[in-house]
């Protein structure tokens, strides 16, 4: 296990809020995520998941409240927080006109890795993500499943203790999704905390704990099994509909 914070919390949010004009996207969010957890952050479209993740990643300033990532307050230690997180969004954030290797080199560069370190890490990641044969291919020509693994590679480049995945498997077929989750488990087994959002309720089942967000607030929080029992739900899909449905 990687040493994280004294408190053992990878992510902690306290009354974290974000307003856009008179619309409150995230409403006083309180959340503790333990180091090493695979935490599923669920909610309907527009429930505030992406806004919350963006605040935790330092892309967006909170309107009120505070959050700690790896023990560091995001309001004052934004840059330090960025070194400790890996981020992968549903849009992947890859340059389609660059080759696979060049994408990794670029992101390695902006994380301040020197060229020897980038080269070593690149080889290691390509091997692990089963992308070695795609090294020189233009990223734009890759199938979605490959891009998705490459985006994960980018997020893992600097060996962050915490990984934020915002709908990482959207639009990807079941085979690629399962392969992707195998990778997530591997990463988590090494002690990395995984904070993930998804619309696939079968994936929610893969998480250690999940929260379900409705209109900017967390309406349910616990392990999939305990939540299903609590709400008398058959499966996660059923649970989700029960919690989100009015």
């Amino acid at each position: 296990m990687r040493p994280t914070t004294e408190s053992g919390l990878a992510v902690r949010a306290h009354h974290l809020s974000r307003r856009f004009g008179d619309f409150t996207a995230v409403d006083s969010l309180d959340l503790d995520v333990e180091a090493g957890e695979i935490f599923g952050f669920l909610g309907a479209n527009g429930a505030g998941k992406t806004t919350a993740i963006r605040m935790l990643c330092g892309l967006l300033a909170p309107s009120a409240g505070e959050a700690w990532v790896d023990g560091l307050p995001i309001s004052t230690h934004g840059e330090a927080v960025k070194r400790r997180i890996g981020y992968m969004s549903q849009r992947f954030g890859l340059y389609d006109d660059l080759r696979v290797g060049e994408n990794l080199e670029f992101y390695g560069g902006i994380y301040g890795l020197d060229s020897a370190a980038i080269k070593a890490r690149r080889g290691e990641l390509l091997e692990r993500l089963d992308l070695s044969q795609a090294l020189d291919r233009p990223t734009g020509s890759l199938p979605l499943g490959y891009k998705q693994r490459l985006a994960l590679g980018v997020a893992l480049l600097h060996r962050p203790p915490i990984l934020f995945l915002d709908e990482p498997t959207g639009g990807v077929d079941p085979v690629a999704r399962r392969a992707f989750w195998d990778l997530i488990y591997e990463v988590a087994a090494e002690g990395t905390t995984v904070f993930v959002t998804t619309h696939y309720m079968d994936e929610a089942e893969y998480c250690g704990r999940v929260s379900i967000m409705v209109a900017g607030r967390i309406q349910a929080l616990g392990t999939p099994a305990s939540l299903k029992a609590e709400h008398g739900a058959r499966d996660m899909q059923d649970l989700f509909l029960k919690v989100v449905g009015t």
Binding site: L144, G171, R178, H199, M201, Y206, G245
Partner: protein
């Protein structure tokens, strides 16, 4: 009865590489046919050819008996096609989008008014008629796209991954709408990466590398899964992985706190025994459509 959609031996290659080979299907009014398969399996290619947007290399497509290649103009009003990236005009309101599509199909003023109301009620978009399409949530956008696709009251609705990126509640709502349409006598052909959605179709075709490798009713497909699945709760994945190494071909999947072990029927006894010796009690897990899907993709068919 003439099938609404009748496809025979449809084939198409891109730059000499076959994208679709020998696809055949029939779809009756009121039927819902699901097309599932990994990325690049040829789903979009097949749907585009069925709409006459793409010329097939071989085979034919008939819609209500009319040939798509020869009678394109006659067929167009019969088909509603919602492509994967259906683009609404984000700067136009819900109402203006609907109006544009009705004008595109040359509807009269009365027809337009009547259908607008019916579709708005059907898609529950009434409260949002003046909102710009760009400001709608993902689920509402999809419903508006569906409404625009339905404006000319097609007999056949072809939807290419209509709910990708939409949350579970909206997906459920969307599929309820599709169910209503099918009950109303429309024929629906839908591709989807979601297994729970595929299960709502009357018949599924599993497409892989341009070929249908399995098809049938969803329950039939799950039932014909040729292997066995054992479930372990709360076991240490590393330890189990070590243990099953002795069994060739056994696959281990993690599902949160539970582990699924997929084995051949003749391995089941031995595997259970080995697990029991390690103090692990495995329970049988009924196969799902997804399990069948995986097996078929990995082995090229659902045969053992």
């Amino acid at each position: 009865m003439t099938p609404v959609l009748d496809i025979r031996s449809l084939a198409r290659a891109w730059d000499g590489k076959p994208a679709l080979r020998d696809l055949s299907l029939t779809l009756q009014a009121g039927g819902m046919l699901g097309l599932i398969g990994p990325d690049g399996a040829g789903k979009t290619t097949a749907m585009r050819m069925a709409c006459g947007l793409l010329r097939p290399d071989g085979g034919e497509v008939r819609v209500l008996g009319l040939d798509v290649q020869r009678d394109g103009a006659a067929i167009r009003p019969l088909i509603g096609y919602m492509p994967q990236r259906f683009s609404l005009y984000p700067d136009l309101s819900v109402d203006e989008n609907l109006r544009f599509f009705s004008e595109l199909h040359g509807l009269s003023r009365d027809q337009r008014q009547q259908r607008r109301e019916r579709l708005l009620a059907f898609s529950r978009l009434e409260p949002f008629t003046r909102r710009r399409a760009g400001a709608l949530s993902g689920g509402m956008k999809q419903k508006l796209a569906l409404a625009c696709t339905l404006i000319h009251e097609p007999r056949l609705l072809i939807l290419d991954e209509p709910t990708t990126g939409v949350d579970p509640v909206s997906r459920q709502e969307f599929w309820d709408l599709l169910g209503d349409l099918a009950r109303g006598g429309m024929a629906l052909w839908v591709s989807t990466p979601y297994m729970d959605e595929a299960e709502r179709c009357g018949h599924i075709q599993l497409l892989h590398q341009g070929q249908v490798i399995a098809e049938g009713r969803p329950a039939e497909l799950s039932a014909s899964f040729p292997r066995r699945i054992l479930r372990l709760e709360g076991a240490d994945p590393q330890a189990v992985r070590q243990l099953v190494q002795a069994f060739a071909g056994v696959v281990l999947h993690r599902f949160g706190h539970s582990l699924h072990l997929v084995c051949d029927p003749d391995q089941e006894e031995g595997l259970r025994l080995a697990l029991r010796q390690a103090n692990l009690e495995a329970k049988p897990q009924p196969p799902t459509l997804e399990d069948a899907f995986f097996h078929a993709v990995a082995h090229g068919s659902l045969a053992a």
